[in-house]
Symmetry: D2
Amino acid sequence: MTDQNPVFIPGPTNIPDRLRNAMHLQTRDHRAPDFVETFAPVLRDCKRVFGTETGEVITFPSSGTGGWEASICNTLSAGDKVLIARYGMFSHRWIDLCQRHNLDVQVIECAWGSGAPADKFAEVLSADNGHEIKAVLVTHNETATGVKSDIAAVRQAMDASGHPALLFVDCVSSLASMPFEMDAWGVDIAVSGSQKGFMLNTGMAILGVSQKALAAMETATLTRTFFDFRDMMAANANGGFPYTPPLQLIYGMKESLAMLFEEGLENVYARHHRLAEGVRKAVDAWGLKLCAQSPELYSDTVSAIYVPEGFDSNQLTEHAFNAYGVSFGIGLGEMNGKAFRIGHLGSLTDVMVLSGLATIEMAMADLNYPITLGSGVAAAQEYFRKTASKNCA
Amino acid sequence: MTDQNPVFIPGPTNIPDRLRNAMHLQTRDHRAPDFVETFAPVLRDCKRVFGTETGEVITFPSSGTGGWEASICNTLSAGDKVLIARYGMFSHRWIDLCQRHNLDVQVIECAWGSGAPADKFAEVLSADNGHEIKAVLVTHNETATGVKSDIAAVRQAMDASGHPALLFVDCVSSLASMPFEMDAWGVDIAVSGSQKGFMLNTGMAILGVSQKALAAMETATLTRTFFDFRDMMAANANGGFPYTPPLQLIYGMKESLAMLFEEGLENVYARHHRLAEGVRKAVDAWGLKLCAQSPELYSDTVSAIYVPEGFDSNQLTEHAFNAYGVSFGIGLGEMNGKAFRIGHLGSLTDVMVLSGLATIEMAMADLNYPITLGSGVAAAQEYFRKTASKNCA
Amino acid sequence: MTDQNPVFIPGPTNIPDRLRNAMHLQTRDHRAPDFVETFAPVLRDCKRVFGTETGEVITFPSSGTGGWEASICNTLSAGDKVLIARYGMFSHRWIDLCQRHNLDVQVIECAWGSGAPADKFAEVLSADNGHEIKAVLVTHNETATGVKSDIAAVRQAMDASGHPALLFVDCVSSLASMPFEMDAWGVDIAVSGSQKGFMLNTGMAILGVSQKALAAMETATLTRTFFDFRDMMAANANGGFPYTPPLQLIYGMKESLAMLFEEGLENVYARHHRLAEGVRKAVDAWGLKLCAQSPELYSDTVSAIYVPEGFDSNQLTEHAFNAYGVSFGIGLGEMNGKAFRIGHLGSLTDVMVLSGLATIEMAMADLNYPITLGSGVAAAQEYFRKTASKNCA
Amino acid sequence: MTDQNPVFIPGPTNIPDRLRNAMHLQTRDHRAPDFVETFAPVLRDCKRVFGTETGEVITFPSSGTGGWEASICNTLSAGDKVLIARYGMFSHRWIDLCQRHNLDVQVIECAWGSGAPADKFAEVLSADNGHEIKAVLVTHNETATGVKSDIAAVRQAMDASGHPALLFVDCVSSLASMPFEMDAWGVDIAVSGSQKGFMLNTGMAILGVSQKALAAMETATLTRTFFDFRDMMAANANGGFPYTPPLQLIYGMKESLAMLFEEGLENVYARHHRLAEGVRKAVDAWGLKLCAQSPELYSDTVSAIYVPEGFDSNQLTEHAFNAYGVSFGIGLGEMNGKAFRIGHLGSLTDVMVLSGLATIEMAMADLNYPITLGSGVAAAQEYFRKTASKNCA
């Protein structure tokens, strides 16, 4: 019976029926006109979500990891220097990926729970007089710690130092949930996926690519075929794909964009903020602490929450699943055992969030956490009440 | 986004994906062997849910109201006397239906919130020396008041008075959720439907019919064709239907029975009891009262809850829907404006129930009800924690 | 693997994905505003399909048989005289239904394969000076014989004799597939269902009801509750249902109407005519005969085809199913063993029809019918080619 | 209405309802036990389809092209020599992919319509005394020309020359449709995908990998992360994925394997052969020629058919789509304009094939091809009749 409980992992997200039905598609010919007529608007409309008018949108049938790989393989060459800060599991993995593709990765180590250090980037970039650094890589929303970084500040740091490096941003768990402004922030490649803010099945990496990044393809020598921008863009220009496209996901994407625009992107962001605030009120009420070090870093899509000293967060998430049939995110990397995560992104309501809070409270009580049953729920209820639109149907 | 919130109306119930997929069926030939092979076991397995070995199961493509009509039209004649107690909207409607079919309906008026008055039945039946009463009609679970009646006691009353009347029971909102023992209780016709405990779309009335009820067809002169037992049973005997069958519902029924048996009927009943108890703990914590007059009457599928003096329950349910996108049952008939209902039957989990409790709490707080936010949730959490199986997945 | 073969029974029809998805609906509250907003337009738009501006549309969760029952129970009284011609299994069943409801049924026996005998109706009605006949009942499309009757001619006959009887028409297998003009033909009750031209699951009877028929309710004393027009219309007036509505079918109906109107009713009729003509070309090429006696009687939704002397049509349909996994209609009643039927209504294309023709050809060849493989297909291909729109996608 | 016509492209294939429902899955936690319990058996059971007991199965959320890339990136280094024959568009693309990854590709040019030249491979390998050739790459089923190559013969050629090169085989459009014997044929990497014989959505590359290929990872220096065997196998060993898995496809795969095993792989192959033979009978009857040069090369999953001199095959496929709503494969590469393709793989029946043949006949007739309407259909019918199992349901 637990199939009907929502998931509170930070993606893949709960899929609304409308999108499940949109993906419940019989095979169609991907070389036929109706595919062309579907796909081109999808690419065009995605630009609006990325916040770009001058960039291109490129998709691959893969996960976000494939998107990371595509971002570097199309623009860089072995030995190229890239600058990146490590402050969570996903920035860590992107670093690892760069290293495995023989890039010269300059890592700024930061505390997990902090965000992208614009000031340190500024220092390093200012010192890089020879402009050896070809790209700065930033994780917009670090899913492991629930930290949202300030991309505009990174852009300012880059501009201030007059550095021509490309700016690549991982927005897998932020796009279509939190504001993202590719053009305004001067992002050259933004990497996202289908299974978070777009509320779809996993299986499509979605990239926003600036003209500057496209120009970098001219000299890039890292190898790629599956993830080649050029092949994809050439095929896309004719409404097609260089290989078999993930048809169902593309039709799903069409409907997802329609849903997002019907709600209004600003309203989508506001909804995520409201739900996240409700979760944070509960965390406060429990007397627990977020991994994110300060309010401006709080992510509106995922909260990573430290368990009290002496408790094991893995036991908590495991128990919540076994006893109540609800999935929460485990602590990743440094946070393993120390924190659990509540994903609050995608197709979610305050009502669903309350069920998650109530569940984790029960699980904490079962494991003798020093929390009061109902306290977090009540705090979230109070916040949700005050901020309810009174007409949500 | 509110499509993903559960409903807390007392039926139709939340449909699990497994059943939605089972009903997501392309047209098949209902005269082909695979239909025959599907339908016969469905009828057979339904008997187990009714608790009958000697009776038959008969289905019609209609709602429960059609089932009521079928029960009387196949067994009674104009002017026949029937005995029935009115203690809620659904017993009221059955009375009305009987009257419109020209039966001589002897009504025992009872307080809404009480159940079937076995003692009064006994009195009336004992006094009916001429055995003019042809049938006693009882609403097992009065969905309007959240009252479960004691059918075994009614049977005892009938037996004690040595009265040969048929016993018809409306178990629309109890079957497959609360224990039902057709044979043990000597029920002659039990009327249910697809959209409650069976967790399916509305559209199929499901009746358990005893041999005694079948025998009554010999003399019954009320007219019927669509609802004729004889036509249906003759066609069923060959694995078919006397007219076009509701194919998707029958395949859904097959899967629903599989789900019920996999969980185990006893476990299904226990789950409903646990969820209902959780709701009742919340009601207590809010300081509110159930319509059901005493604990032995408490229904495990629906709770009707009085709002405090001076409040309008319709405003409450309307507000819960408008502000939070969650549907609760309104107060029906006498209860209109005075009570709201929480349906807790079908495919439901403790986690889902908590979201319903949290929602109605917010709605009550918004309307200045004298309740404490989180209080009902906490009471239910406490109960759910203590009774969790620790392995629900 | 045979699930993907179309069915060629004359309903329920092949369900397009768009409608299957529309019916793949999670439970919603049928008392909530969105149901009201969905249901009212459905009723209104159905009128267009019936061809009525002055009548009402009333639906019941039942099959077409329930619709027949509703038509008489709401308007007639026991002993009322009705006039009807028997020329196939479905007119036969309606006669039987009337008799079982104690109507005085005057039957005109006609050859199966003929249609409604307007001239004989005229005779009988003219002779009925006392206007004892309360209703004339006509099967528009006799599904058993593939005969379409001329309702306008029946109306003329009635008008010519100045007879005030009601005119009831069974259009279960014609509505939304062949032209139907309720107002122009003076039809008082038109009975249809969800599972034919509307391409939906079985489970909803759909009736068009004239003001004159509604007025007849005043004096009608046949009993009914489930099928009561008054209860239904009163509830419908508030956007609701007098009992639990078949939610999924109503949402399906909304989408079905959208599909029909997008294609255009005239185009829907033209498509059915073209597909039927293709089938008839094949029948000609095989050297077989239709049951329908003359071209003006040919149905555009189903063809009943005589097998040659000495062959058993049941063996043919059974073999087609067993050997090729394709369902055709069997011969019903008088036609049993003598004819098989090809349903060509609902969501069907020329391409699908060709697969049906190719299949039955193989089955006939397997059973040594004197036909040439490919001959019927070629005849239909030739016709389809000449009439293809060249832009069907 | 044309959504219900089957597609006759050589993949993605028509998806049976059972698999569409299996993929119609709400998000579940991919770190939860039920995922682990689902995924491990999927990998294990895939081995049976590849025909390997000693190899491993590795999947990636990508298309078959990604599988090609994975095969070389995990086992080879820049400058490594590989041997491959070009005899169609898909062998051509694999060559291109190798070149773009800086392999030293020795290409044997063959006529399109021929298959893998075992004799020429033998010559080259025998001459390669220094064993500079690290891998031999073979397209098992060349989807562009409808040619099936003899992998066992290639293995014999390799063994005869005592050459230690790896053997990589593209079986994207043959696996689960035609016999494949990875162990018996000594295949080191077999590359397939979800959207052909497995009858699923596009989105998963599926590889069989021998222990010898795994050992080659030790020295391979081509870069990869998304497609890294090691990461994937390490995660798989714990029932997980190194990044977000394509949940719906994995559950779909579980059901696809169940369907394949229920039918029996031998029966699956026999069904494909029968359907292909039917198509070939039709081609003969039309007086047209297959691109495949000789019967032993005929593919059982796709037929590429030359149009007569003076006709344009693109016009034919375009017209078939526009006039009849049916998709066929276009001629690719050298075949463009000269040939069209009929895909006959996946979830397909003889009845569906006949609709495709009938359609393309109409399209050919419309464009004045010198063919007789119904001739191909009749030839296929004759063949299908003789080979029908008489119990296909």
